[in-house]
Symmetry: C2
Subunit: 344 residues, 2 copies
DNA sequence: ATGAAAGCGCTAACAA
DNA sequence: TTGTTAGCGCTTTCAT
């Protein structure tokens, strides 16, 4: 049945019905007699007919397509989010258009591309956009939900977790361990997440009468985090605690600390990450980290986007979910306190 | 300029030109006077006009869209491939439609979906399809390239690496190390890759007068590989060498061997993987593995798909690239041979 | 170089 | 229930 393009007209002709009868037969809600539908389906099968989704989209002005935008999949946290969210939308009958943010900051072209492609919604994964870009999309009435990044321009729904409190907890935990040379390994410098985690971290240190001993930037990437760690540990006085703005960088730091500087984690250096990606729990790493409720984030984000598409939710939402500390073996045991019994 | 839908007619009216002039102005190849184009662009900007890609696709019958199909992104190897290939197509001006294979074997619905969406090509990542499914797509003259899986039905281009020789090398290497209880950790049982690696592995063992000591299945997944490893090491006689059909499973095996059975890799057990994903080189794992030339695979696959789309390459290609052994520290040093000098 | 007109393949009124 | 008709927004002849 190899034919270049079988249209509903061809099917109609073969089935001896009108072209609109064919259209109706392929619409689940339309009312067609069983007899007609059967004839149509038979003819369709014989010709190998498939309704042309593009033509349908043009007239219904609904593409049933959602754009997902991400900047990289190096971090397994985001490939996980991508897969989960995609499967969700796929189950809901949506198609997924995937966009990668280009290396530079030239994001406008992608925004333009997204608008032209007539998607019904946009899901952004950790994409930092500025307010003019946000406005460009909003002006086209395309619902947008952004995961794990906040943008100052209102009008865009955001789902994230409590980065500030996460950073604060990290500082408190390291301080309570009795450490004093605590360093921060930052993510992408212009990302809201890294900024908020840092802020909470600094405030937490201050609360314990400490200041940040050193700081470097790993751009949320493995390689960059390795370089940053080498710099931190080439200093005259090396850190005894590190808070990295995500797990990937935390693991990179541990690799370097252990295998290049021959120091022990956690005996010489305690390390804390952020995300709790699956790998963080692998025994080799056993990384103490802040768990982002990723399933809940995905659920909220996808449902929110769908609600906005269906018009049942017009106000943008700003959802901040709590993070949960996962204490594992990359941080040392707390300093000995007075025992519970009578003092010795 | 928030308007629900600005069409080329609206722009034409404002610019005082015909609708076709607008269309031409947005087509790089069309011949329009500079004056007209300027007027049009001005009006377009003022109204916030964006050409409707869907309408364009309908008439040009070219969607400039490619479908990428994958079954999971748990394995970083595939998120890497996905990202690289996507960026390539994006740079070539194509859109990417992302499909995940459903959990069960019900792949027909996805195939149907892909055909209906009028994509110009399909890139399958490690997707096992049967010949009827392959035929369904081929009948619609949609070019397909499969990465890392072979399908028996001809007519579909395939890009992979030499799984058989990889398996053979793994067996030889372990045998040369003087090991004798060598086990195989299989991937997805119905995948061609796992089968071919196993075949080469078994033949390699036989060549050295060995047989496979034990075998289990890890489905290419981390968790399943952990379970499989536990079973292998709960046996009366435990393996002293393992060849896993991919890196992810090999690393899982090492985690279990080291941290649950307190054995040493490589002193007690040597482990070999397949893929050489970036993580394999991390010092903690330092996994001996077979490197798949992933960049080359992506390049070949994307170029091949493009060539088929443009009609310059009609015959399906079957490309098998060589793999390269990467010897790291998860396999022990070779057994001492007679020294190069005079025998002691 | 420009405008008028004819569709691309489909859905959705409207009649019958 | 069915067929007829009118577009969806665009590209592309064909005259001018």
């Amino acid at each position: 049945m190899k034919r270049k393009s079988v249209t509903s007209r061809d099917v109609a002709r073969l089935a001896g019905v009108s072209q609109s009868a064919v259209s109706r037969s392929f619409s689940p809600t339309a009312k067609v007699s069983e007899k007609t539908r059967k004839k149509v389906m038979e003819a369709a099968r014989e010709l190998g007919y498939r309704p042309n989704t593009i033509a349908r989209s043009l007239i219904t002005r609904s593409s049933r397509t959602i754009a997902v935008v991400t900047y990289s999949l190096e971090n397994p946290f985001y490939s996980f989010v991508l897969e989960k969210a995609s499967r969700f939308f796929q189950e809901q009958g949506y198609h997924l258009l995937l966009f990668f943010a280009p290396p530079g900051r030239d994001f406008d072209a992608v925004i333009d591309d997204i608008i032209k492609s007539q998607v019904e919604g946009v899901l952004m994964l950790a994409i930092t956009i500025d307010s003019s870009q946000a406005k460009a999309v909003a002006d086209f009435d395309i619902p947008v939900v952004i995961i794990n990044r906040t943008v100052n321009h209102a009008g865009i729904s955001q789902v994230g977790s409590d980065n500030y409190r996460g950073g604060y907890w990290a500082a408190s935990h390291l301080a309570t361990l009795g450490l004093s040379r605590i360093a921060f390994l930052a993510g992408l410098v212009d990302s809201s997440t890294s900024g908020q985690r840092q802020e909470g971290f600094f405030d937490g240190l201050e609360e314990h009468g400490l200041t940040c001993h050193a700081m470097d930037v790993g751009n949320y990437r493995y390689d960059d985090a390795c370089f940053a760690t080498r710099r931190l540990f080439s200093a005259h006085v090396v850190p005894d605690g590190i808070f990295a703005a995500n797990d990937l960088m935390a693991i990179a730091a541990m690799e370097i600390i252990r295998h290049e500087f021959n120091l022990s984690v956690p005996d010489d250096v305690s390390v804390i990450g952020f995300d709790d990606m699956p790998m963080a729990a692998w025994p080799s790493h056993s990384l103490t980290t802040l768990r982002q409720p990723v399933d809940e984030m995905i659920m909220k984000a996808t449902e929110l986007l769908l609600a906005q598409i269906h018009g049942s939710q017009t106000e943008p939402q700003y959802i901040k979910l709590p993070v949960a500390p996962m204490v594992r073996r990359s941080t040392r045991r707390p300093a000995r306190r007075s025992p519970p019994g009578p003092v010795a």
